[in-house]
């Protein structure tokens, strides 16, 4: 079985198609009404979150079933700094990213040695604690079950991003940046180290890989990106409440990576589209739309366990 050299025409073709689709996406506000532009914006935000889960789950092979926590931390940091302290939205962004990354690293550090299934249960525990803490108005600044409302409109270089289209473009540009970062992850030692650990931890450590450090970093990076998405989410809804970050959200993010294709950017984007965009077309069926969705997940796992668009094996 020979693997085609990855830096061949094929690799560049896929990247070119990705870049083209992204550029075409910029024109979505011209062809969609504003409620669909909002769907597209939410898609971009969830796509970033799912890609951030992919760093930990897809590339690192660590069963993180509490990823909504980091997404939530980003959203809450932005909401709190903006509504309680009056910070401009963009000033909150670095803090949202750093706070989520720090929590990711801190939670991960003691858990990193747990085997897959134990890690999974532990991260579910963190998710439950996070939601309860937010609901119970932790430190009097999270707004309890209702959350926080009335976030300001983000202002970029003196330009308020008021319209849904402007906010969509913000999210779309952020998604484009994250897609490039994820592609680069495949071409550097950090990204490869995660794959070594995922495929054979013992072999990796005897080659000098510091498993604890690499896995903690993966959690920090994945959580930080989720924090970025959290800020965008808070801005899009202009409100933040605990229900957006419950355990089932984490399950969905987990499922997107598995169904779409672990470690594959197009796979994760496809998974996100199936999970968040397709259900929008079936709104009239109300909750039954998730019924079909459940069957689709089962079908993919049985018929195509490697995911819809699996990762290609690469060389250089």
């Amino acid at each position: 079985m020979t693997v085609p050299p990855a830096r061949g025409i094929l690799a560049y073709r896929n990247e070119a198609i990705g870049a083209l689709l992204w550029a075409l996406g910029l024109a979505l506000p011209a062809v969609l009404d504003s409620s669909w532009v909002a769907v597209a914006a939410i898609f971009a935000i969830y796509a970033i979150t799912a890609l951030s889960e992919d760093v930990i789950l897809g590339r690192g092979g660590m069963f993180d079933m509490g990823h909504a926590v980091y997404f939530g931390i980003g959203a809450y940091v932005t909401a709190i700094l903006n509504t309680e302290f009056g910070w401009p939205i963009f000033a909150t962004l670095p803090f949202a990213i750093l706070a989520a990354a720090a929590v990711g690293a801190l939670l991960a550090a003691p858990l990193i040695r747990l085997r897959g299934d134990y890690l999974l249960v532990a991260t579910i525990g963190f998710n439950a604690i996070f939601v309860l803490a937010m609901q119970n108005n932790l430190a009097g600044i999270t707004g309890g079950s209702d959350g926080l409302t009335g976030l300001d409109v983000p202002v970029l270089f003196g330009l308020p991003l008021e319209s849904q289209s402007a906010m969509f473009w913000l999210d779309w540009v952020a998604l484009g940046i994250v897609m490039v970062l994820m592609r680069n992850l495949d071409r550097c030692e950090f990204g490869r180290t995660l794959r070594y650990l995922k495929q054979d931890e013992l072999a990796a450590t005897t080659l000098g890989v510091d498993a604890r450090a690499a896995k903690t970093l993966a959690f920090a990076v994945g959580a930080g990106l989720a924090g970025l998405a959290g800020t965008l989410f808070a801005v899009q809804l202009s409100t933040v409440s605990p229900t957006s970050f419950v355990f089932t959200e984490s399950v969905t993010l987990f499922a997107i990576v598995i169904v779409g294709g672990k470690g594959s950017v197009p796979g994760v984007l496809l998974g996100t589209a199936l999970m968040f965009v397709v259900p929008q077309f079936f709104r009239q069926f109300a909750t039954y739309r998730y019924f079909a969705f459940g069957f689709a997940m089962i079908a993919v796992m049985v018929l195509r366990p490697q995911g819809l668009w699996p990762r290609r094996i690469q060389n250089e």
Partner: protein, 259 residues
């Protein structure tokens, strides 16, 4: 010659089983040392103790004179010790090239953010890593398989890929766990050449091997274990004539011959 690696009264117990007991031997720089013994004698356990996979219950392991007992595996690797595994452990979803490049990990200087941003210094280093990897692939005649999925290769080639992965990191000592297992005669003959070539490039070799043909031909020094204890050591001739060894290990072949 100075001792590169030294074990002093090293022992480990698993539950009530004393897998390795009071084991002392040393590996001199530039030698090929063979570790032999019947099945279950504790040979692989010794390798796991040296490489930090297991922590010894008692005793000391010295590397160039300083204690390394209980260091975690990645720290042991950083000293310049690399190993292969009895059951080949290649990265299953990676090509031969990628598997071998993994052995460069410790020499990599780039920071994660340099990689994620694809900064020029990082890209230069990537080119260097590829070059180093290809050089080792050429040396071990694996170049034509560079883009093959490593685990799809025949057994003998997989062993060679694993060896290439240890050599690309420019180690001081390589530990080979049954490198001839599953090889045919021609392949094991080629392996002898490869092992001698490794030593000729200045790397010390410690190997566990069942294939007497390999051990006797390449080893400068042989250490014989039985039930976790050292029962003899010396060169090939001394070991061949040692009555304790014949009884414990080679004796089986005598019985077969007699039968």
């Amino acid at each position: 010659m100075s001792a590169l690696l030294e074990l002093r009264s090293v022992g480990i117990s698993f539950g009530g089983l004393r897998a390795v007991d009071q084991l002392s031997f040393s590996v001199a720089e530039g030698q090929i040392v063979g570790l032999i013994g019947p099945n279950g004698a504790g040979k692989t356990t010794v390798f796991n103790l040296i490489t930090g996979v297991y922590r010894p219950t008692n005793g000391e392991i010295l590397w160039q004179g300083s204690r390394i007992t209980g260091l975690r595996p990645h720290r042991v690797a950083a000293l310049g010790i690399r190993r292969t595994f009895q059951t080949i452990r290649l990265f299953a979803e990676m090509s031969v090239f990628e598997n071998v490049r993994a052995g460069c990990h410790l020499g990599v200087r780039q920071h994660w953010w340099q990689g994620v941003l694809q900064l020029p210094a990082q890209r230069r280093e990537e080119a260097e890593l590829a070059e180093r990897t290809h050089a080792v692939l050429r040396r071990l005649q694996l170049e034509t398989h560079a883009n093959d999925l490593a685990v799809s290769l025949p057994y003998g080639l997989q062993r060679r890929v694993e060896l290439a992965r240890t050599l690309v990191g420019e180690p001081k000592l390589v530990i080979l766990d049954e490198p001839a297992a599953g090889l045919n005669d021609a392949e094991s003959e080629a392996l002898n050449e490869t092992i001698l070539g490794v030593r000729a490039s200045g790397i010390t070799v410690l190997l566990v091997e069942h294939d007497m043909n390999v051990v006797m031909k390449v080893s400068d020094h042989i250490v014989v274990l039985n039930f976790g204890r050292l029962i003899a050591e010396g060169d090939a001739v001394a070991i061949r004539d040692n009555s304790a060894v014949i009884e414990a290990y080679l004796g089986r072949e005598d019985e077969e011959a007699a039968a």
